[in-house]
Amino acid sequence: MMSNMIPGLVMILFSIVLPVIPNYFRHPAMLLSVFLSSLSLFNGYGIFLEWDILGLNLILYQSDSLTFPFAIIFHIAAVLVIIFSWHNKNLMEQMATLAYAGSAIGALHAGDFFSLFIWWEATALTSVFIVFAGNTLASRNAAMRYLIIQVSSGVLLLIGTCLMLYQTGNHNLATLDLNSDFGKFIFIAFGIKAAFPLLNGWLQDSYPESSVTGTVALSAFTTKLAIYALARTFPGTDSLIWIGAIMTAFPVFFAVIENDLRRVLSFSLNNQLGFMVVGIGIGTELSLNGTVAHAFVHIIYKALLFMSMGAVLYRTGTTKASELGGLYKYMPLTTIFCIVGAMSISAFPLFSGFVAKSLIMSSLGGAGMVLIYFVLFFASAGVLEHSGIKIPYFAFFAHERKTRVKEAPLNMLIAMGIAAFLCIGIGVYPRYLYQILPYAVEYQPYTLDHVISQLQLLVFAILAFLFLIKFKLYPSEIKSTVLNSDWFYRRMLPGIGRPFFKMVSNVIEKFYFNLAFVFNFLLGKSKKYNNSSFIKVTTPSFATLILIIVLFIMLLIAVI
């Protein structure tokens, strides 16, 4: 019976019954559900569950060599999140996290666009509660914006899917052409969740507002699901190479000046997605392997970094660089784990980032793309800057701390320990990672050329940092907000829209007022009940007006 149950569904079922489980057993139950779901990993490849409904054939559960590595890492991430949040008694967040992870795993195994759409929306609707769980006014507002953006992505996906079904009679998950109409809709839908340039505002807006544990969960699933979806439907799409390259380079500058360290990590997450998108754009077996490998290791070290910052937030109440520093003395283990994560993301040899990033860089080199190669090389220095140095430096060193804090709780240390172990383990024994990649490609990351080049890049970049600090050229931490692409819908659109709507409503109100005057006049002439309660002319409220306009537009559309 378990063999053709959709992976992840059992986690959602568990999340529904979570409220009736006593507090003490909730986390073990969550782990149990992840374990039960992970049994699906042993099913092998194939189509396991289909459903014919409304004349559509939905493939609810399929797996192949591309879903497999993602399914493994999603299960690992779910376990890490559950252990890391063991101390957390917030039921809403527990339910949302488990259902969110389950939906993401379910989405991986969807074999057609309709089932993918259902899971796509499920991840949006469950994860918004995780942002909510930040439990501040800022997080509530961010959650609403997050929901709007995520659901828009789902709606675009649905439009694309319907168009596809209408035009081709097929809705199975397959490679699409970006030149087709439906291809464009689906591309943008994926692009929103993959945080393409200018579509990325939601990520840096919402992730840092979430709770201590919530950000860790958020960082793992949504964006990597989008990477999976892009790898499945748009491999070898040239424009992805450029989009990806821009994604690697631009967030780097924002991360330098951002004060909130969890937001710095969100910019860094965006930059990492760029590497994966470039890999999808190249579309060779080596580069797609690189994308999958990078997504795999990235989930672990990014979770590790977010966990270390979560621990800092938990103990100090802030992740603002301007208020932190000197924590190495009080949180030595967290410091070490954070540095392991930082070295992994910076791709130091013997750490997991190195063995994954090399694949993408090699495929770029092999394809002879000089410019993109150097953009990514440049971005690698940027990764070292914001994630490799800035995060550990400002949180744990920078200057002495006056007030004493405790080391992170045991459950957090265990979760960080596991993640750190995986980061080093994969870095030292990359063959285990390479074995589960979609294509069988012989690759040796540890050549003398690679190692020396990478070490030169990194060590001299660190030297540059020390040089900048020495001569006081490094930008100091300043309490501030850094404008990002969410500015367009948080400031620009309301800035234009509000006065415009006010003007329109004023005009309409005036028109109605005059109309009422005319009516009054006419009615007053014909009948003498001017003040009777029957004939009271009121100006319609703005809401009714909008309703009328919408109805009118719908009528127009229906007529056309």
Binding site: Q456, A461, L468, L473, P475, L483
Partner: protein, 77 residues
């Protein structure tokens, strides 16, 4: 006492990084480093590129503050 800890750590760290970077540059002279592109094989190119990129990123980021930085409560109406 307390203040010296971090400073001392910083000095030791700087010393090691300097030693390692000198070693890495010297190592480049001992063998021919293969790259995908010809200028990548120039002596010490990754080192040079890493240093310059880092300085560039930080200084440009600092300059961008002029355009992108707002007060902390910028969005709170």
């Amino acid at each position: 006492m307390k203040k010296n800890d971090l400073k001392k750590f910083g000095e030791i760290f700087t010393k090691y990084i300097l030693i390692i970077s000198i070693l890495l540059i010297l190592l480049d002279f001992t063998f021919h480093r293969h790259g995908y592109f010809s200028f990548e094989e120039i002596y010490g190119f990754p080192a040079f590129f890493g240093f310059i990129s880092f300085v560039f990123i930080v200084l440009v980021g600092k300059w961008l503050r002029k355009f992108l930085m707002r007060k902390e409560d910028y969005y709170d109406e």
